[in-house]
Amino acid sequence: MLAPSRPAVHRVDHLLIAEMVRAGSRVLDVGCGDGALLQLLADTKNVDGRGIEVSRERVNACVARGLSVIQGDADRDLADYPDAAFDYAILSLTIQATRYPKSVLENLLRIGHRAIVSFPNFGHWQVRGQLLFTGRMPVTENLPEAWYASPNAHLCTIKDFADLCRVTGAGVERAVAFNLKGQKLGTWLPLTVHNFLGEKAVFMLTRHVLPHRP
């Protein structure tokens, strides 16, 4: 009954998250899908990991693999968790599919000492180009479904997400954008360039805003 061994091909955002997370920490992965990130974090960082996933089939597959996962929904079920229950609350490529991204983010920041959020960047040049030149909703590797079949309800750009962080009072500890080849964009590049060349982004947030200088 042992879980089949999986190919060791990991998503670049997962590898970055695994690099960000402290070994032995407590992690909640919201929208954990097939459990690939939880498995990676368990294997490489020995975390105490939990997952929430909306698809019943995926949940059952995760549990059969030995991961602690419950069937649930980011919009509805995060409210059950107590404050600061986890070191990290992770939302990977999921926020765009939630109904209330702002309250989901607020809950992540409440439940975790840190929140890690990755999302497809709707400001990427390919997306902009498709919309500009075809006049149709973009379909890319990160956004593979037609608009009517997509679970995505709240797509945003890197700049938009940075705005949401300000609105929710989240402090950005680290923000990384990946280009089409999965390479990290240099941190010296301005936000506008990240927003143009970044295909997806990973933000590590704290609920404590750094003190403002007037």
Partner: protein, 377 residues
């Protein structure tokens, strides 16, 4: 007493203190074991049985001569693997397969207890099991597993003895018995009590059995264990060995014949007063009420790893009641997995061949065993 079971006796000198505040002794708890207890006694799994089941979880039931009730789940190479784990399945306190219950002799009168038997609770059943586990010299159970009323015992075990339960698998159950479920139980109890052969609970003294009443109780209950879809698929409106309706009250329909059979065979293996007491224990079960009306308090601080399981077509213990347990566990940041299994077989699905259920429980136990291994290393 069934000769094919082991048993322990709880002596007069150390009686059970029941939730009703009465003392009960002597008490006998009959149990079956499968597999081998390892040297450090760390591989024991306690299986808690449901309302009308017994300790014969993976071996032939001596009365019915039928295979064990969970042989699909428990055995060599099965999800609950007897090659790796030591399985303990006791007959509950109040039962009628060798453990002390209302059919046992009351030592004060020399007659069967009947209605003089104290009203017991799920917690009392667990306390009796604790005595058994103590006697076997086991500090911590690797897992406590049970479906339906067995799941209530699982929850009560964690609530009362969190440090003694490494993993808990409550299946198709709830943290409190719903009004609808109490209502169905009351129908069953009234059917038993309305049978003149019940003799105010003293039928054993008069050499009688309230067969009709208990059979009707079982028939009504059996419907609640299935689903409309399963009944329809199995029987539809088919007639029983008939070309046409008989215009009588015979069992024309297959479903009627099936229920009558379920009722009459049940009477041969189950004690009517046991049925009253056990259904009452389930009705009284409300884990939240025992903990200041906040279910999460029952689990505060517990390190137990949970795997909660429900079934889509179970209307007796619907998924939302399992979800309530999960919410309470999340509220204290407990380690919990929760799977809802797609099945059209109703509440009874937990006893049947459900590959998704087996995969979930097998995977959960494997991972927990690995976790415990690494912790000890």
């Amino acid at each position: 007493m069934s000769p094919s079971s082991d048993y322990i006796d709880i002596p007069d000198s150390d009686p059970l203190r029941l939730d009703c505040d009465k003392l009960l002794a002597p008490v006998r708890i009959a149990y079956k074991t499968y597999g081998t207890l390892n040297a450090d006694k760390s591989n024991a799994i306690l299986i808690c049985h449901a309302l009308t089941l017994d300790q014969y979880v993976a071996s032939e039931q001596p009365v019915t001569r039928k295979p064990g009730w969970w042989e699909a789940m428990v055995g060599p190479g099965k999800p609950i693997d007897t090659d790796r784990f030591f399985i303990i399945c006791p007959n509950i306190l109040g039962g009628c397969m060798g453990s002390t219950g209302p059919a046992s002799l009351n030592p004060n009168t020399g007659r069967p207890w009947g209605l003089e038997f104290p009203v017991i609770t799920i917690g009392d059943m667990v306390d009796a099991q604790v005595r058994l586990i103590d006697r076997l010299g086991i500090d911590q159970l690797f897992s406590v597993v049970g479906g339906s009323m067995g799941g209530m015992q699982v929850l009560e075990w964690v609530a009362r003895h969190p440090e003694r339960v490494f993993t808990a698998i409550p299946i198709a159950t709830a943290a409190w018995h719903s009004s609808q479920n109490i209502a169905f139980h009351e129908v069953g109890r009234q059917a038993v009590m309305a049978d003149p052969d019940w003799c105010q609970g003293r039928y054993l003294e008069f050499g009688k059995v309230p067969r009709n009443g208990l059979a009707v109780a079982r028939m009504a209950a059996h419907i609640t264990y299935l689903s409309e879809e399963a009944l329809h698929r199995k029987f539809g409106r088919s007639l029983q060995d008939l070309a046409a309706k008989t215009f009588s009250f015979n069992a024309d329909f297959q479903v009627e014949s099936y229920l009558r059979h379920q009722g009459s065979t049940f009477v041969d293996r189950f004690d009517a007063n046991s049925y009253l007491y056990i259904t009452r224990a389930m009705d009284y079960f409300d884990l939240a009420a025992e903990h200041g009306d906040v279910l999460a308090n029952a689990f505060r601080g517990c390190k137990t790893r949970f795997c909660v399981v429900s079934f889509t077509s179970d209307w007796l213990y619907p998924t939302r009641e399992s979800r309530e347990i999960v919410q309470a566990l999340n509220a204290v940041a407990a380690n919990v997995s929760f799977v809802e299994i797609e099945s059209d077989k109703g509440h009874d699905a937990f006893l049947l061949e459900e590959p998704e259920l087996f995969a979930a429980i097998g995977g959960f136990l494997n991972a927990a065993a690995a976790k415990r291994g690494s912790r000890r290393a």
